[in-house]
């Protein structure tokens, strides 16, 4: 019995060493693939949620995401809708749009902002509510301005 335990002990040590020295060549990529296959997605309150409609503005596009809001039982905070403009290079100096966020044919918000040509410059603008059920969030005016 003692000999068997000893075999297991040394076997476990060899296994630990094998895991360690194989990790960068085999295991990291395999585990990474497994994590990807789990189908996890960042919470929409961080990522903005999935894009549900894309409006073509002739040269650039406006992507409207699904409303993002609380998921957990103790989660609070307003629901919000993320709107992204791309590509930045094709945007006019000033964007001024009335947007129909829910696709029912009536605009709910009017957005105006100057497009900063330096991506490190903060993006500021105005969100005007046209529908009394909505209200602007501070972040609505602060989307990333990435090249492309």
């Amino acid at each position: 019995m003692a000999k068997l335990k000893s075999w297991f002990g040394y076997g476990a040590a060899v296994l630990v060493l094998a895991v360690m020295f194989l990790a960068p060549f085999v295991l990291f990529s395999r585990i990474g693939r497994m994590v990807r296959q789990l189908g996890l997605r960042p919470h929409p309150k961080f990522s903005g949620g999935q894009v549900v409609r894309v409006l073509d503005r002739g040269g650039y596009q406006v992507a409207i995401a699904a409303p993002a809001g609380p998921v957990g039982p103790l989660e609070w905070g307003p629901r919000f809708i993320q709107v992204s403009w791309s590509p930045v290079a094709a945007l006019p100096d000033t964007v001024d749009e009335r947007l129909d966020l829910d696709g029912r044919g009536r605009p709910q918000v009017r957005l105006r902002f100057q497009v900063p040509r330096d991506p490190r410059q903060p993006l500021t603008g105005q969100v005007e509510v046209l529908d009394p059920r909505s209200r602007p969030r501070r972040e609505a005016c602060m989307m990333p301005c990435k090249a492309g």
Binding site: A13, L17, G32, L40, V71, L74, R138, M142
Partner: protein, 382 residues
């Protein structure tokens, strides 16, 4: 029959050098991308980091002491990691604070501390409660998949020893704990040992209910030296004050006064989480009762209070033991020793096998962080 041979024999330089050779070669492989790249600074720092890790390992084998040399690596890592991280953040964002647009873009580096909090929301809704990306991107190489892979390998290889060979935060408090020769605070209430478990349970439940990384938002002391939400209102100001207070109290002042890793021993939920996997590793620390003089040197040396008189009598530390080797180094009679579960392997053999795995991971993870942080520091002054 217990093995009562003297522990940690002093090896000859050639023998120690021969045994250290595999780790030196492994370090070269780990530093390979930097050493073969075009950046001269990165080459230099990779070479320095490789030499640093190899020399420390050689000294471990030559002197038979583990904690003494591991500590040098760990403190270096603990102080260089925030420096490199902050330099990188300032280069990318111009500030240590995370602007909202970076949160939304998934550009926040994933931290292993978040892992326990993500489990329940991920299992229930496949939702990741962290503003990071799943796969690495150019603007965020520390993505979820990358960090989870690292954590899983670290857990299989090290278990709880992650806290002494992998964690890039623990070196800070180990550094402050090493400043004074003798502790001012000699008695710490042992009930605080349950602190990490209390914090772990609280944050896991709160995160599952609120779908937010509660610990990162409110309690992480290391936000003070890495990144934190941009201060734009009363809430973010309060968060910043909490981060700074916890950092000063648990990472600087208490370790300085008590010579213990108080943040790890009393607060860190990830340490408690890793304790759950402590028994995966076959490598243990044992106290050989027949050789023990009950002098208490091992308990005094233990940085996380995993050993006390009761545990010495039982012959093994608590699961909070992170295999740092402080007790073995401190034991004059050789009663505290390394043990390979199920075997009667001599302590030195068990230690050597453990160190190949532990130091191998330290080279892979901490060694490369030391190299890249040094390179960032040099770039800053050029």
């Amino acid at each position: 029959m217990a093995d009562n041979r003297p522990l940690s024999p002093l090896r000859s330089w050639p023998r120690a050098g021969l045994l250290a050779l595999p780790i030196a070669l492994w370090g070269l492989v780990m530093m390979g991308p930097a050493l073969s790249g075009r950046d001269g600074t990165a080459k230099l720092t990779a070479f320095l980091a490789e030499a640093f890790m190899a020399v420390l390992f050689l000294l471990m084998l030559r002197t038979g002491q583990t904690h003494r040399w591991r500590k040098v690596f760990f403190i270096t890592l603990g102080f260089l990691f925030p420096v490199g991280f902050i330099i990188e953040l300032v280069r990318l964002r111009g500030s240590m604070s995370i602007p909202v647009e970076h949160l939304i873009a998934g550009d926040t580096p994933f931290c292993f501390m978040v892992i326990p909090m993500t489990v329940i929301p991920a299992a229930l809704n496949r939702v990741l409660i962290f503003p990071g990306s799943i796969l690495p991107t150019a603007s965020n190489p520390r993505a979820v998949a990358t960090m989870v892979s690292l954590w899983l390998v670290a857990t299989l290889v090290l278990g709880k020893a992650w806290c002494a060979y992998g964690c890039f935060f623990g070196g800070l408090e180990e550094g402050f704990a090493s400043i004074r020769r003798r502790p001012v605070l000699k008695r710490l209430n042992p009930v605080f040992r349950y602190g990490p478990w209390a914090v772990l349970v609280t944050i896991v439940l709160l995160s599952a209910a609120s779908y937010a990384p509660t610990y990162c938002q409110w309690l992480c002391p290391f936000k003070a030296v890495t990144e934190f939400p941009e201060i734009t209102n009363g809430q973010t100001l309060l968060q910043a004050v909490i981060f700074a207070s916890l950092f000063l109290g648990l990472v600087v002042i208490l370790p300085l006064l008590s010579k213990k890793r108080t943040q790890c021993a009393f607060f860190c939920p990830f340490g408690a989480f890793q304790s759950l996997f402590a028994r995966i590793s076959p490598f243990r620390i044992r106290i050989e009762r027949s050789a023990c003089k009950d002098c208490g040197a091992c308990s005094r040396a233990c940085p996380t209070l995993a050993l006390d008189a009761g545990r010495v009598l039982q012959g093994a530390p608590r699961d909070a033991c992170m295999r740092c080797g402080a007790c073995v180094d401190a034991c004059a009679t050789g009663a505290a020793r390394w043990h390979l579960q199920g075997t009667r392997a001599p302590s030195e053999r068990a230690r050597l096998l453990f160190l190949y795995a532990g130091w191998g991971f330290a080279c892979l993870f901490g060694g490369t962080i030391i190299a890249s942080s040094l390179a960032s520091l040099i770039h800053l002054f050029r």
